[in-house]
C-alpha cells in the first residue's frame, strides 16, 4: 500500500554494481583515513574523540584558503597550471595545522580529564565537537564554500567501468598514507611506545615511555591523517561546510568499530567495507544508504563487538 522503498533506476546491471563498488572503495578510503584517528585515540585513552570529525572539516578548510591563491575558481574562469609541489605543500600544510589542533585539543580538553570518569571525557569530547562546529560557522561562515579546482575532473576507464581521476587519487594517496602509518606504528620506537600505551599505560610508563608525549603524538598523527582525508574530499567534491565533519566523523568511527577498534589494518578494512556497502545500497536508494552505517554499527556491537580484526581479550585496545 504505502511505498516505503523508492526504486531509482529500472536497469540495475552488473556493470553498475561494479561501478558502485569502485566508487565505494574511494569513499571507504576516506573513511579509513579518518577512522585511524578514532582507533588510535580509543586504543590509547579509551575515549571516543567525537571532535575528530571536526578535525577533518578543519583539514579541508585549512587547505581552502591557501588553495584560493593558486587554484582555479569556477566563477572567474582562470585556469592556472598548478605544479605538483604546491599541491603537496597544500597537503603538508593542512596536516601540520591539524596535527597542532589535535594536540591542542588533547592538551586543553582531554588531559585534565585523564583520571576522571570515561563519561565525563565522552561529554567533553561532544563539547569540543560542538565548539568546533559552531566556531567554524562563525569563522568560516555557515554557507558552503566552493573549493578551488586544480585538477580537472575526468573519467579514467578501468575495464568495464570508469572512475573519476580525483577518486583514483583518493584511493592511491589513502593507500600510501595508511601503509606508512602502519609501518610507523609497527616498526619505529615511537610506534612501539604507542602500542605499549594502548596495552597498559602504567606499565608503559614503568618501561620509560613518556606517556604524555605519546598521547600527544597519537592525536597529532590521527589529526594529520584526517587532514589528508579533508583535502582529498575537498578536491573530489568541492563543497565545504562547517558541519561536514559530523556525519563523516560518525561513519568513520563506525568503520573503526567495524574493523576492530585499536587496529589500524582494521580501520582500513572497516572503512572499505562500509564505503562499498553504502555505495552498493545507494544503487537502489540513496537515503537508505545513509542508514547502512548505523545498521552495521548495531549489528557489529551485538554480534562481534571486537570487530573484524580486533583482538578479543582482557585489554580493550
Amino acid at each position: 500500500m504505502l511505498p516505503l522503498l523508492e526504486t531509482e533506476a529500472p536497469g540495475i546491471t552488473a556493470e553498475l554494481i561494479l561501478q558502485q563498488v569502485a566508487n565505494g572503495v574511494a569513499k571507504g578510503s576516506v573513511y579509513a583515513l579518518i577512522a585511524v584517528g578514532y582507533t588510535m585515540v580509543y586504543g590509547v585513552l579509551q575515549l571516543i574523540n567525537f571532535a575528530h570529525g571536526e578535525v577533518y572539516m578543519l583539514g579541508a578548510y585549512f587547505s581552502y584558503y591557501p588553495a584560493k591563491w593558486f587554484g582555479y575558481v569556477p566563477e572567474t574562469g582562470e585556469k592556472p597550471k598548478v605544479p605538483l609541489y604546491l599541491i603537496g605543500a597544500l597537503f603538508v600544510g593542512s596536516m601540520a595545522a591539524c596535527a597542532a589542533v589535535g594536540m591542542l585539543i588533547e592538551r586543553l580538553a582531554y588531559r585534565p580529564l585523564r583520571n576522571s570518569s570515561r563519561l565525563a571525557a565522552l561529554i567533553t569530547a561532544i563539547g569540543v565537537s560542538l565548539f568546533l562546529q559552531n566556531a567554524g560557522q562563525m569563522v568560516f561562515g555557515a554557507d558552503p564554500k566552493g573549493f578551488p579546482v586544480f585538477m580537472d575532473q575526468e573519467s579514467v576507464p578501468l575495464g568495464p567501468i570508469e572512475l573519476a581521476n580525483t577518486k583514483l587519487v583518493i584511493i592511491v594517496v589513502a593507500a600510501i598514507m595508511m601503509t606508512g602509518l602502519h609501518l610507523f606504528v609497527q616498526r619505529t620506537k615511537p610506534g612501539a611506545a604507542m602500542r605499549a600505551c594502548s596495552f597498559d599505560m602504567r606499565t608503559a610508563r614503568l618501561m620509560g615511555v613518556n606517556v604524555d608525549r605519546t598521547v600527544a603524538m597519537t592525536f597529532a598523527l590521527g589529526s594529520a591523517m584526517a587532514a589528508v582525508g579533508g583535502v582529498l574530499v575537498a578536491m573530489d567534491q568541492p563543497r565545504l561546510t562547517p558541519l561536514m565533519g559530523l556525519m563523516m566523523g560518525l561513519k568513520a568511527f563506525i568503520a573503526a568499530v567495524l574493523g576492530g577498534i585499536g587496529s589500524i589494518p582494521g580501520a582500513a578494512l572497516g572503512g572499505l567495507v562500509l564505503g562499498v556497502a553504502e555505495s552498493v545500497v545507494g544503487t537502489w536508494s540513496t537515503t537508505y544508504a545513509e542508514a547502512v552505517a548505523f545498521i552495521v554499527l548495531i549489528l557489529v556491537l551485538l554480534v562481534k563487538p571486537s570487530g573484524l580484526l580486533g583482538k578479543s581479550g582482557r585489554e580493550k585496545v
Binding site: 504505502l2 511505498p3 516505503l4 522503498l5 523508492e6 579509551q46 575515549l47 571516543i48 580538553a109 585534565p112 580529564l113 576522571s116 570518569s117 570515561r118 563519561l119 565525563a120 571525557a121 565522552l122 561529554i123 567533553t124 561532544i126 563539547g127 569540543v128 560542538l130 565548539f131 559552531n134 566556531a135 560557522q137 562563525m138 555557515a142 560518525l250 568511527f253 563506525i254 568499530v257 536508494s285 537515503t287 537508505y288 545513509e290 542508514a291 552505517a293 548505523f294 545498521i295 554499527l297 548495531i298 556491537l301 551485538l302 563487538p305
Partner: protein, 341 residues
C-alpha cells in the same frame, strides 16, 4: 496513593489557572519559551531515569521523541500521499479530529516510543558506557532516516499542518505527571534497584535484582515520556521534520542532565529550564553585539569547562530540598514530598 491523587488534582488545577493567566496577560513569546521549558523538563526528567538513575548512557532520546511526535501526528493530522493509479495526491483524514483526541493520540505516541524503547533496550543490554551511547545514537539516526524515506508523513521535507493542540495546560499537566511519577519511582524498590545497578551491576545481580529486566524497564519508562514530549512538541511547532529530531537534540537533553547533575531529578529540571531559557535570552544579546553564533560557541565551552571543573554538575546526585525551598519562600507550607536525599 490517595495523597498522590490529591496532589495530582491540586497541581492540575494550579496548572489550569496558570494557563489561563498566561494566555490572558503574558506576551505570547514568553508563553512559548515557558512551554518549551516544560517540554525540556519532561525530556530531561525522563532521560534521567535511564542515564542518571540506571547509569545507562543513552544518546537516543531524540529517536523516541520522533516516534512519539510522528505517531501522535498520524492520529491528529491530515496526511497526503501520491496515488499512482489516480495520479494525484490523496488525503487521509485524521482519526481524531478534535482537541479531545489529543491526549489519546499522545498516549499512543508514548506507547509506540515505549515499544521502541524495549526494542532498543533488549539488544543493547550487553553494551556499556560509550559503546551503548554510540549504539543508541545509531538507533536515533536510523529512526530519522526511516522517517525521511516515508513520503506519506512528509519525508525529508517534514510534515506540516499539525493542529495547535499543545498549550501550557497540557504540557505542564505532563510535567506534573512525569515529575511525580519519577519522584515516587526514585523512592520505590524499582528506583533503588536502578541505582544499585548504576553503582555496581554485579552486586545488584547478587542481591537478586534482574539487571537486564530493570534496564529494559528504565528504557521503556524513559522512552514513553520522551514520546509524549515529542507529541507535545509536534503539536506546539505544528510542523515536524526528521531534522527536528536529529542527534543534536539527544545531546541537548544529555547536556541538560549533566549541567544539573546526572542522577538528580531536581537537577534535571533546573538544567532543562536554564538551557532552554538562556539561549533565548542570549539571542537578543547576540544580535546586539553583532556576533551571531557566539551563543552556541559559549554553550559548548560551558559544557567543556563544566566537565573539567565540576563533572558532577550543579547538584551532583543530590536533590534540591523542597523543605529548604519552603524556608526560603515565606508563608509556604512545606509538608508534602520533600527532604534531602
Amino acid at each position: 496513593m490517595g495523597r498522590m491523587i490529591g496532589i495530582l488534582v491540586v497541581s492540575l488545577a494550579v496548572v489550569l489557572g496558570v494557563n489561563w493567566f498566561l494566555d490572558s496577560y503574558i506576551d505570547q513569546y514568553v508563553v512559548r519559551v515557558i512551554n518549551m521549558c516544560g517540554i525540556s523538563i519532561i525530556l530531561a526528567v525522563s532521560l534521567n531515569v535511564i542515564n542518571g538513575l540506571c547509569g545507562q548512557f543513552s544518546l537516543g532520546h531524540a529517536g523516541f521523541m520522533a516516534i512519539g511526535a510522528y505517531v501522535s501526528a498520524w492520529f491528529t493530522t491530515t496526511l497526503r500521499y501520491f496515488d499512482e493509479a489516480q495520479a494525484k495526491y490523496v488525503a487521509i483524514e485524521p482519526m481524531f479530529s478534535s482537541q479531545w483526541g489529543f491526549v489519546p493520540a499522545l498516549i499512543v505516541g508514548g506507547i509506540a516510543a515505549a515499544i521502541a524503547g524495549a526494542v532498543v533496550g533488549i539488544p543493547t543490554l550487553r553494551l556499556k558506557g560509550d559503546y551503548l551511547a554510540i549504539a543508541t545514537l545509531g538507533f536515533g539516526e536510523i529512526v530519522t532516516i526511516m522517517i525521511t524515506n516515508f513520503e506519506t508523513i512528509g519525508g525529508a521535507n517534514g510534515l506540516p499542518g499539525l493542529p495547535a493542540y499543545s498549550n501550557t495546560f497540557w504540557i505542564f499537566a505532563f510535567v506534573v505527571i512525569v515529575v511525580m511519577f519519577s519522584w515516587y519511582l526514585q523512592r520505590s524498590t524499582f528506583g533503588r534497584a536502578l541505582i544499585a545497578i548504576r553503582e555496581n551491576e554485579l552486586a545488584a545481580e547478587v542481591m537478586g535484582i534482574s539487571a537486564s529486566r530493570m534496564k529494559v524497564m528504565a528504557f521503556i519508562y524513559g522512552a514513553f515520556f520522551a514520546g509524549i514530549a515529542g507529541g507535545l512538541l509536534g503539536h506546539l511547532l505544528q510542523t515536524i521534520s526528521p531534522a527536528t529530531f536529529n542527534f543534536m537534540k539527544s545531546i541537548e537533553v544529555v547536556v541538560m542532565l549533566v549541567l544539573g547533575g546526572l542522577g538528580s531529578m531536581t537537577g534535571a529540571i533546573v538544567g532543562a529550564i536554564v538551557l532552554t531559557a538562556l539561549p533565548e535570552a542570549l539571542r537578543d544579546v547576540e544580535s546586539e553585539i553583532g556576533l551571531v553564533g557566539v551563543r552556541m560557541v559559549a554553550y559548548a565551552l560551558v559544557l567543556i569547562l563544566l566537565m573539567i571543573f565540576r563533572p558532577q554538575g550543579i547538584f551532583g546526585q543530590k536533590e534540591l530540598s523542597l523543605k529548604l525551598l519552603g524556608r526560603l519562600i515565606p508563608g509556604r507550607k512545606s509538608g508534602n514530598a520533600g527532604g534531602e536525599e
